[in-house]
Symmetry: C2
Subunit: 495 residues, 2 copies
């Protein structure tokens, strides 16, 4: 079960990691310009046991903003990673801002990037780490926005008799929340919980129903498998056979040596534990390649070709077995992980096993409130069978992170499937995206609507325009802007 | 400023105290029958620094309930006091429940009554007291309702593949929140924050805008004054003259003795401090008599006649001065505090100075997030001038309770005046009620509506039917039930 918790939760994190990649690859260069600022917020918004504060980071660009025209704030609800990465990988916000005269703000999620409430100690023990929750992060965003709008509202509204009239100032400014993946969950929840502050939300690839009691744990793996099947019908069958094939070879010394040599592993396989690691590594790779299955080359996790699933499956196009199967799989993985051909050998532990804070913090969140059941049966999906067991999950969290799990907390606090009374949220999901199964795929109210993007992977629609974008994504972006205009116009009419 | 904070915040608490009174007077007898149950909830819902739990109390009556018919839960969001008192004084819920086949639940607010997270230590230091917030109390109610509905839903809905499908069970049961005063604020906020769980709310006399930046601090005192003026136009002028008259007499030994003897004080006035206490006591009395200015006798704060403001003003019906004024005022106070004639003397410190936990806990809440600015100018109101000064307020809280104040927290977390996106809330206010000035007095959206009750005091509409109820209150109760039916019908159509 350790595998399931940490590698699959890790695969959700890869969204953060992948978003991080461009910054890493480009040495910090971003295609967009902004100022980096910090804002002091309480560590604990919901009790009075702790008066500590910390400096949260946010990125801001006010070069387009015309508040006197009633222009909106485009507010990115930062998720599990460095906020600069999300700014670099959310091109849609930057492209749409000028035509809306919008203020652009990217807010960093507490415990990620440079927004560490207790510096290096932040994750060291519960008295420091315990404030890492979605609810607290959303309250940070409320404080930031309240302050920003009070400080930047240029209109001469009357100030109330007693002190600063924060709320009346806020009334003039529509705020649209944006987010992808966990950030999309946050943007949807932000609108749900603070409808007086947040005018509407674009929640892209936001699996708000990938939680216990709300979803079938099998969906995720089935979508991964079908994303491979779409590219090449023999590919999933071959992947499904991999596990036994690797086990068989891994049973003998000669087999271990053969794999180590032919797969150019940096460290040779020595025993069953190593073999299990290798299988885990391949599973994660298939999941990640499905998530970032974009139609154009992108420098995620190093350089990737366009349609990376296609590249992975290219050599698995007929029924294969034994060493042939392993050789073809290696070629697929090589195309993916070593697109530029610069890698000398494969390091099974480094590619998805880095222990940067982002990863630690997401593992922490997974064990406390972000419990997202995922399971495999090896029949309708191509993974080794791996049931979901909440009890084991909770025990593992207690054992490994010393944390208590509250598996139903998210459903309780954010309403679960009861969204009929919620308004002004767009839930978009790419149907190639494994997380789509946990997303909102049908309209739930007049203004809480679902957008399905047939040939899109994980939050493709939030990325910058590309000539290779599928028509569904191009059309969706136009549609989003139309909805934003309606939200803004309704907002000003209601005030 | 100490006076302002603690006596006026106390006056809000009197709602709790007054609600407590019947239990005290009747030795616990209630006109309604229920079972008393306890439910375990986390002490901290929003962080993982503390795994403690406590047993919250709730009262339940399922004798009318027919869940198979899609009948609702009537849920009282308990406020600052013992929950049994609210059950005894919210007759409207009991009267309406049978025709709705409703389940009746009264939930006790944490840190009040028997729902003490850390027993006697609960308010002793921030590590125990810090979890006394409205947000945490609402989360308690979410946990309780989620559990209740999961346990009591009799329909055979399919249970999901993984674990208990709490949310699907919840989908079948509409929940209507009820509350008066602070409890009304909670019921409104409950619907705002948990619209997936709470179908609608009746928030009676809920001053959700009596917070810094949202309201004019003078309103409260002006309404008190006008409630007296309605009964007798000379009365407010006389009250306004009281303070100087008392000061003048209090300046001499003879004057102090005269007051002590003629007002039958249990302990004689000795100095200026005692005189100030007496004025504070009278101020509080006028505020409280305005709040509970019901048209029929009620045993609040001991036995009260119907129209107690009228009784208070009866002897202040012409312009008076000096000892005549004091004698007439004493008669008014005597009518009020000593309606039965059983009191031998007046105890200035006991009537509003009890230090039961309810009071301490409300003082605590007033100093942390429940900051409700109230001020007097002595011109448009009949009190001694007393400006509102947030800085002093915060300092006093730090000095007296060692607590940090977050004056804008409520406005930030609950949306302040921006309620356009909120739905299914009835805000009712009696126009005789001093707290009405901080309430919602105009419709704010299609289904978030304001009901004004011209001749009603503090949450009269929630009380049991009485022959002396004004027509506005009778009509309002019929109207509420009509709205409830619509909410319930919409709920079942949407599901």
């Amino acid at each position: 079960m350790f595998y399931l918790i940490f590698s699959l939760q890790l695969s959700f994190l890869v969204i953060g990691l992948s978003a991080l990649a461009p910054r890493i690859c480009n040495g910090g260069a971003s295609p967009y310009s902004y100022k980096t600022e910090y804002f002091k917020v309480p560590v604990d918004h919901f009790s009075f046991t702790n008066d500590d504060t910390f400096e949260m980071r946010y990125l801001i660009n006010d070069s387009y903003w015309q508040p006197a025209k009633g222009a909106p704030i485009f507010f990115y609800t930062g998720n599990e990673g460095d906020i600069e990465s999300f700014a670099a990988n959310t091109g849609f916000m930057w492209e749409a801002a000028p035509e809306f005269n919008a203020l652009i703000v990217f807010a960093e999620h507490r415990y990620y990037g440079k927004s560490l409430p207790y510096g290096n100690k932040s994750l060291s023990e519960p008295k420091y780490s315990g404030y890492l929750t979605a609810e607290q992060a959303l309250a940070d965003y409320v404080y930031l926005l309240t302050n920003l709008t009070a400080a930047r509202d240029v209109r001469s509204e009357e100030v109330s008799v007693n002190g600063v009239n924060i709320n009346r100032k806020l009334r003039g400014i529509p705020i649209i929340a944006f987010g992808g993946s966990y950030g999309g969950m946050l943007s949807a929840w932000f609108r749900m919980k603070y409808p007086g502050l947040v005018t509407g939300a674009l929640a892209s690839s936001a699996p708000i129903w990938q939680f216990p009691g709300l979803n079938d744990c099998h969906t995720f793996a089935r979508i991964v498998t079908s994303a491979f099947e779409i590219e090449e019908k023999n590919c999933p069958h071959n992947v499904r056979k991999l596990w036994a094939t690797i086990d068989e070879l891994g049973n003998t010394k000669e087999g271990l040596e053969w794999i180590s040599a032919n797969w150019k592993l940096c460290g040779p396989l020595k025993n069953k534990t190593d073999v299990d690691s290798m299988k885990e590594w391949i599973s994660s790779a298939t999941i990640n390649v499905a998530m970032v299955n974009y139609p154009y080359p992108a420098n995620f996790l190093g350089n990737l070709p366009g349609h990376p699933v296609r590249a992975f499956c290219k050599n698995l196009d007929k029924v294969m077995e034994g060493k042939d199967l392993l050789t073809a799989t290696f070629k697929g993985l090589n195309t993916w992980f070593n697109h530029t051909g610069s890698a000398k050998c494969f390091n099974l532990s480094s590619e998805f096993g880095t222990s940067d804070l982002g990863l630690d913090a997401w593992n922490y969140q997974s064990c406390t409130e972000m419990v997202m059941p995922i399971c495999m049966d090896g029949k309708q999906d191509f993974f080794e069978p791996s049931p979901w067991n909440l009890g084991e999950y909770v025990n593992d969290c207690k054992k490994n992170l010393k944390m208590s799990t509250r598996p139903y907390m998210i459903a309780k606090l954010f309403g679960g499937k009861n969204l009929e009374s919620v308004s002004n949220i767009i839930f978009s999901n790419g149907l190639l995206d494994p997380w789509a199964g946990g997303g909102v795929l049908k309209n739930v109210s007049k203004s809480t609507i679902a957008v399905l993007l047939p040939s899109a992977a994980h939050h493709l629609d939030l990325r910058a325009t590309n000539d290779l974008d599928p028509p569904s994504v191009r059309m969706a972006r136009q549609f989003y802007k139309k909805i934003f205009r309606k939200w803004i116009s309704d907002f000003h009419q209601e005030k």
